[in-house]
């Protein structure tokens, strides 16, 4: 299998495989996870045919959801799939968080227990259907045996089995004990989609009622008895150490109980966060800033520019790129995108109680088994002695795919007698983080008779996968960094995509909502827009002419153009921009209408999105994810960059790391295309499509082309426009 001679499907499969190799191979379409003996024994009296479903004898249905709920609605979506095949009454279902257990709760697409990459519905669609159907078959078998009838003559509805011929029925609760003694079938019959009662309906979410009255418990709300509160400061320069601490003033702050000094951080433990914060402010810390003390953003950019001159690892190659570029009109451009922080509304935090014989953790995290493993590593305890209570997540966006904050919290907790909740201030949250990679891109393309004759794309940047899943980083190629680039949807005979691995000095990078495509779709759709302009063609007409082999994406483009009134007249300095993408297993076209005033201030009037994510589990959640994903992407495009000076992150809080607010938010129209295709991902597509559609709209409004982010308003002011 080489990466250089592939069809799209082949390449995507190879890529998925590449990202799962680390932990046991490609297991899409996985059968039901194995039944844990301990789980079965514990649930002797009730019916727990697999790790996801439990039916008590009183009829209570509990679903254990392997994927963490961070606002994307996954508790509801996976419960709908389970309830659909089980024929359980959805309004009586309760969903609970799975404990860490890679054997039972691994994400089949990624190989371990992880919520990310817009994979949850895609990964668990088959396993949850099988789990629900198997449980249903066992309940039917139990009922049929009880009534001495043929199981095939029974039907199920709303949490009960019926045998109409003999007018008998029994609830699932009544059948739970008998069903618990049966063996789960391996290949239970699945419902025909035509018979779905729940899937495809905009059902109410299971997690929202407690989120409007203050009852929902996030990691930061954990309050084990006797818990103290700590806050911390790590060396402001990445990689630096503590040189000296004078804690005299801090010790005298009312409510301060303890000062913890570790080699790379200091923490103050108090009765409450105010005491801890006041104590931290009173600490006099001298830092040994180490080798990164002079790093600047310019160093990072210059390093990537230099790296981009090198030959890269070839991610995809079709045709003859050199010959193709020699034909017709050649265009070249360079783009770059900045580091980005995640800034979830719930700052990083973790509550830990370390004792001689065990460690207990209360946290919200997207990689539970890694949470458990890092605590075991730090404490030296056996992994089974680490208990992790996962919580609702107040925003993940990729930040909680990391366990750095858990490691730091456990290290602090090792010095504290009793449980301690370590809370990052917002400043610490933004400045002591891992960031979306800074990327630098070089393009070359040629046009002949209005068609793309050749397309060459070289990406230079850090590799998240090389650190996060090292075994997937092969032959210098990061499958995530080129995701979206090797999926270039526009027809061209000569396509060449390369990646140059280059780590920035002193800055760690990690996944950020929309991952690889978050950067690739911006640069690709912007440069495609440049080609359309060079070809003197309308941006939609140009794209449409290259999408004959991509009917699903073409349908999205046509629908978005129609709904947005593409081509209709607009006032001066108002423009429409379009972008298309086929990533995360879903197809999206979006059109932004934006207005630019004489000072360069931008008002985004409306975003129109057409989305084909295959089979839709909950259309209301899909719409919400597109709406929110767009806002997330527009926020970054308009406002966000993390810059480095003297080795330090210069942004610190929402006053200088700006967020879109309600008065700046556009109207958003989401149009869903319904079909029976396999479910696609939906948490991230809205984010990756936002920036290019906006940048293309600003070009249409003003003639200014943006080849970097965030948008520089100074370039948009009248008189400075190109």
């Amino acid at each position: 299998m080489t990466r250089s001679s592939s069809t799209r499907t082949f390449t995507r499969r190879a890529m998925v495989k590449a990202t799962v190799v680390a932990s046991g191979g490609f297991v899409l379409g996985v059968s039901m996870p194995r039944l844990a003996p301990a789980f079965a024994a514990e649930t002797n009296a009730d019916f727990a045919p697999n790790a996801f479903i439990r039916i008590d004898q009183d009829g209570k249905v509990t679903f254990t959801i392997p994927q963490v709920e961070m606002g994307q609605g996954i508790y509801t979506a996976l419960s709908m799939v389970l309830a659909e095949e089980l024929d359980a009454p959805f309004e009586q279902v309760s969903a609970v968080a799975a404990p860490p257990n890679d054997k039972l709760y691994a994400n089949p697409l990624l190989g371990f227990q992880v919520t990310g990459g817009s994979t949850s519905v895609r990964a668990f669609w088959d396993p949850m259907r099988i789990a629900g159907a198997a449980a249903r078959a066992m309940l039917v078998k139990a009922a049929a045996a009880k009534w001495s009838v043929d199981p095939a003559s029974c039907r199920t509805e709303n949490g009960a089995v019926f045998h109409d011929a003999s007018a008998q029925n029994a609830t699932y609760g009544e059948l739970a004990r008998a069903a618990a003694g049966l063996t789960p079938p391996q290949n239970p019959p699945l419902k025909s989609p035509a018979n779905f009662k729940l899937i495809g309906k905009p059902l109410k979410r299971l997690d929202t009622p407690d989120k409007v009255n203050g009852k929902a418990v996030y990691g930061i709300d954990a309050r084990p008895p006797g818990v103290k509160i700590a806050t911390l400061a790590s060396c402001p320069v990445f990689g630096g150490k503590v040189a000296h601490v004078n804690d005299g003033a801090a010790q005298s702050v009312p409510g301060v109980r303890q000062i913890v000094v570790l080699d790379d951080l200091v923490a103050v433990v108090g009765d409450h966060m105010w005491a801890a914060k006041q104590g931290l402010a009173a600490l006099e810390v001298t830092w040994d800033e180490g080798p990164n003390a002079n790093v600047t953003t310019a160093d990072v950019l210059n390093g990537l520019v230099a790296a981009s001159e090198k030959q890269g690892a070839v991610a995809k190659s079709t045709g003859d790129i050199a010959a193709g570029l020699a034909e017709g009109t050649k265009l070249e451009a360079a783009y770059h995108v900045p580091f980005l922080a995640h800034a979830p509304m719930e700052p990083m935090n973790c509550t830990v109680h370390v004792q001689a014989d065990g460690c207990e953790i209360w946290v919200g995290n997207q990689v539970l088994s890694r949470t458990q493993a890092i605590a075991a590593e730090v404490t030296g305890l056996p992994i089974e002695k680490v208990i992790v209570h996962n919580h609702l997540i107040g925003g993940g966006f990729g930040r909680r795919l990391e366990v750095d904050y858990i490691a730091k919290s456990v290290r602090i907790a090792q010095k504290v007698d009793g449980p301690v909740k370590v809370i990052w201030t917002r400043e610490e949250d933004i400045q002591q983080a891992l960031y979306r990679p800074f990327y630098f891109d070089r393009f070359a393309a040629s046009l002949s008779n209005g068609k793309i004759t050749a397309w060459s794309h070289k990406i230079a940047g850090s590799s998240v996968l090389a650190r996060w899943a090292p075994s997937t980083f092969e032959d210098g190629l990061d499958a995530d960094a080129v995701d979206g680039a090797i999926d270039f949807p526009y027809d061209t005979p000569n396509l060449h995509v390369q990646y140059v691995h280059a780590e920035p000095p002193g800055v760690q990078t990690c996944f950020w909502r929309s991952v690889g495509p978050g950067h690739n779709i911006f640069v690709i759709e912007s440069f495609v827009d440049e080609l359309a302009h060079a070809a003197k063609q309308d941006a939609v007409v140009f794209r449409r002419a290259h999408l004959a082999k991509e009917p699903r994406l073409l349908a999205c483009l046509d629908l978005a153009a129609e709904k947005a009134g593409w081509g209709s007249a607009l006032p001066a300095r108002v423009g429409r921009g379009v972008a298309c993408q086929s990533v995360f297993g879903s197809y999206v076209a979006a059109i932004v209408a934006a207005e630019v005033d004489a000072n360069g201030e931008i008002a985004i009037r409306r975003v129109t999105a057409a989305v084909d994510c295959g089979t839709i589990v909950n259309p209301d959640s899909v719409e919400a994810q597109i709406q929110g994903g767009l806002i997330f992407g527009l926020t970054a495009a308009l406002y966000n960059e993390i810059t480095i000076a003297k080795g330090r992150v210069q942004q610190s809080n929402f006053n200088n790391y700006r967020m879109m607010r309600i008065n700046e938010a556009p109207a958003i129209d989401v149009h869903l295309i319904r079909n029976g295709e396999a479910p696609g991902g939906i948490g991230e597509p809205g984010t990756s499509i936002a920036a290019p559609a906006l940048a293309n709209a600003l070009f249409a409004a003003t003639g200014v082309r943006f080849r970097s982010l965030p948008i520089d308003r100074k370039q948009l002011a009248l008189g400075k426009a190109a």
Partner: protein
């Protein structure tokens, strides 16, 4: 020092320094964790509570400055007519995603509705621009406030 304040109709006595922000008094001392910490500098609105019905950022409000004024938090706002309507509309339109900012959003929206029963877009912008939602639920927040205004 010992400070007594009225929260959601009940008197609570706490032993903290007078300059302790109400946010941490609620969360860490009293145990009312529905009010959230987001930024600590009154930029995000996650910590919004009502003081005599007015929306206030509790992260910068010293508990010693409250005196006899009445504090309402997300745990108690459902007992007010505007709060009840807002919560109902929030569920009806499925506004919430991660939900972390929504305590503050609901407190700001309830205060708006109590003062302005039929808010227009400009009223909503003015009242809600202090509340950041990182999940980007703004489109639905706007719609839900309007629905709450129309509801009984």
């Amino acid at each position: 020092m010992s400070i007594t304040i009225e929260i959601n109709g009940e008197r609570e006595t706490v032993d903290v320094a007078a300059d302790t922000p109400l946010l941490w008094t609620l969360r860490d001392v009293i145990g009312l964790t529905g009010t959230k910490f987001g930024c600590g500098i009154a930029q995000c609105g996650a910590c919004t509570v009502h003081i005599d019905g007015q929306p206030v950022r509790s992260c910068l409000l010293p508990v010693g400055s409250i005196g006899d004024r009445k504090v309402t938090t997300i745990e108690g706002v459902g007992a007010t007519e505007a709060g009840r309507k807002i919560q109902k509309a929030w569920l009806g339109l499925e506004v919430v995603q991660c939900g972390y900012c929504q305590s503050g959003q609901i407190m700001s929206a309830a205060a708006l509705l109590a003062k302005t029963p039929d808010p227009n877009d400009a009223d909503i912008d003015a009242a809600m621009a202090g509340n950041i939602c990182r999940c980007g639920t703004y489109v639905r927040i706007r719609a839900a406030i309007k629905q709450a205004a129309r509801s009984a």
